[in-house]
Each structure stands twice: as structure tokens, then as C-alpha cells.
């Protein structure tokens, strides 16, 4: 009687072949082939590529102001507000009670607007 797992022998072989192939590719590309390539690190060669001229600004990985994101986020906020106002205005004469609700919504956003203004979020560079 055959072993109950015997139909899966081919799967095992496939897994082994896949593992060996992956390992061989890793070893070849990471260890064997780099030994064959010419290796001549030079200061001029490793320098930043700026079309052949000395780099104007070194260290592009510095911190920069996120003001742009703040402005964009505020824009989206007030854009949504405007988009919300439009359907409300269309239905206004059928539902007069929404006036107070919308007024309170606007007042809430106004507080946020004044806060953002006071924080200087609308200044590009501070």
C-alpha cells in the first residue's frame, strides 16, 4: 500500500526545485557575479551625478517645510464645505429648519479657519 502522502511527492520536488533555484539566483547575483565585475570605486565616480558639473547643493535629504501639505489639506476641507453648501442651497426652500444646522456647521469651520490663520498656516514660508 502506498504511503498516503505519496501523491504529494511531486509537490515536494517542486518546492525543493523552487527553493534551490531561488537560493542559486541569490547566491549568483549577490556573491558570485559581483566578484567577476570590474570594481574600481573612485571619488569622482561615486560623486553625485549633476550632468558633469559640481553639485550645487549637497545633501538633498534635508528636512523641508510641510506647509504645502497643510495648505492642501485646508483647501480640501473648505472645498468639501463648498461642495456641501451647494446641495443644501438647492433644497433650502423645502427644509427651512436646516438653516440653523448649516449655520452651526459654518461656525464650527470658521473657528477652525481662524485657528489655522492664527497658526500661520496660510503663510507660505515663515
Amino acid at each position: 500500500m502506498a504511503h498516503p502522502a505519496s501523491p504529494f511527492l511531486s509537490v515536494l520536488i517542486l518546492m525543493l526545485v523552487a527553493a534551490v533555484t531561488a537560493a542559486a539566483i541569490l547566491v549568483l547575483s549577490g556573491w558570485v557575479l559581483p566578484m567577476l565585475k570590474p570594481n574600481n570605486p573612485q571619488e569622482a565616480k561615486l560623486r553625485v551625478y549633476e550632468c558633469g558639473v559640481p553639485p550645487v547643493q549637497t545633501g538633498a535629504r534635508h528636512k523641508y517645510s510641510v506647509k504645502f501639505y497643510l495648505t492642501a489639506m485646508l483647501f480640501i476641507l473648505f472645498d468639501v464645505e463648498a461642495a456641501f453648501l451647494l446641495p443644501w442651497a438647492v433644497n433650502f426652500k423645502h427644509a427651512l429648519w436646516t438653516f440653523g444646522a448649516m449655520l452651526s456647521f459654518m461656525a464650527t469651520l470658521l473657528v477652525g479657519f481662524i485657528y489655522a490663520w492664527g497658526k500661520g498656516a496660510f503663510e507660505w514660508e515663515r
Binding site: 570590474p38 574600481n40 573612485q42 569622482a44 565616480k45 560623486r47 551625478y49 550632468c51 558633469g52 558639473v53
Partner: protein, 202 residues
Amino acid sequence: MAELNINDAVMTTRLDAVVNWGRKNSLWPMPFGVACCAIEFMSMMSSKYDLARFGAEAMRFSPRQSDMMLILGTITNKMAPVLRTIYAQMAEPKWVISVGVCASSGGMYRTYATLQGVDRVIPVDVYVPGCPPRPESIIYGVMKLQEKIEKESLSMRKDHIARFYDSLARQESIQAEKGLTSQQTIREMLMDAGERGVGTIF
């Protein structure tokens, strides 16, 4: 039983031959296109003339990924240090084809502003004449370079490139020492080489 002759069973070759065979059939061109020769180069790379037939279809516009620089046009003295830097930043091993008379000798620009031949500042392997040369001529230049690669030895090419890096180090030390611009430094080095009757600075 027949005796096994080792010479019949095993084919031997030099490492140089094998590596150079690979190198000559996988050139990665980088156009240093500064004048009208670059237009001919575009034609050479595209479908009609098609340099891909010679194994050099992978054109790259970055020196990091290319090993055959084609200098396509007039190199002014202002551009000379840029050319040297770009050559220095190319992947090794690297070859240079000087395309057209301007790059090869200054051509009709026999002026104080133009470098009278790029071989004064970087090592050139093949010169292609013409103003501008037709795409066939540049392809012939590439074929000549392939012949050259086939014959050269690996260590020779290595030393050849090492000599250039030595000259670059010398350039940078002179530049720092005398406080000159890179253009002035190359001019100084060229004048010095001229006095010694060399004509090249590498």
C-alpha cells in the same frame, strides 16, 4: 579502447577572449550629444540603421549605466571638465568614440574657445571622420571598436582607465592648490603637457 586525447575533448581559450567577446557584443552607448553629430546618432540608433544589430541597443543617458561614450559634437574648453567628469562617472570598462571632426580635432572651429580634439583630455579609442559623419560611418566606428575590444587585454584596459583617474586626481589637486576653476586647471595642464611635447593630460 581508443586513447582519449585531451586536446580533442577540451577546448581551451583565454579568459580575455571570452570576456572581450561578451564586452564587444554588449556595449551600452551613452550619447554625449552637443552638436549636429547627435542628430546622426539618433538616426543610427533608430529603426533604419539600427545599432541594436551590433548588440548596442541599450542606450542610456546616464554615465552610471553605460560603457561606450560617443562624443557627438564640438567640445569647448568650458565643456572639457564636464566631459572628464562624465567619463570618470561611467561604468567600467569604458570606451570612447569621438564622432565627427569637431570632437576629433576641433574641426572648423580653430578658435581659442574650442578644445582642439577631445583626446587631449580623455582617452579616445576610435575616431570617426565626417562633418557630420553618416550613420553608416558611426556604425563602422562601432565595428572598429568591437575589433579593438576583441584584441585588447583586460589588464591593459584596466591600466588605461587607471591612468585617467590619476590625471583626474592630479587635476583636482592642482585646482585646490592654485584656487583655479576646473576650466583653468585643464588649460594649465594642457599648456604644461604641450611644453613637454605630450599633447594629452592623462
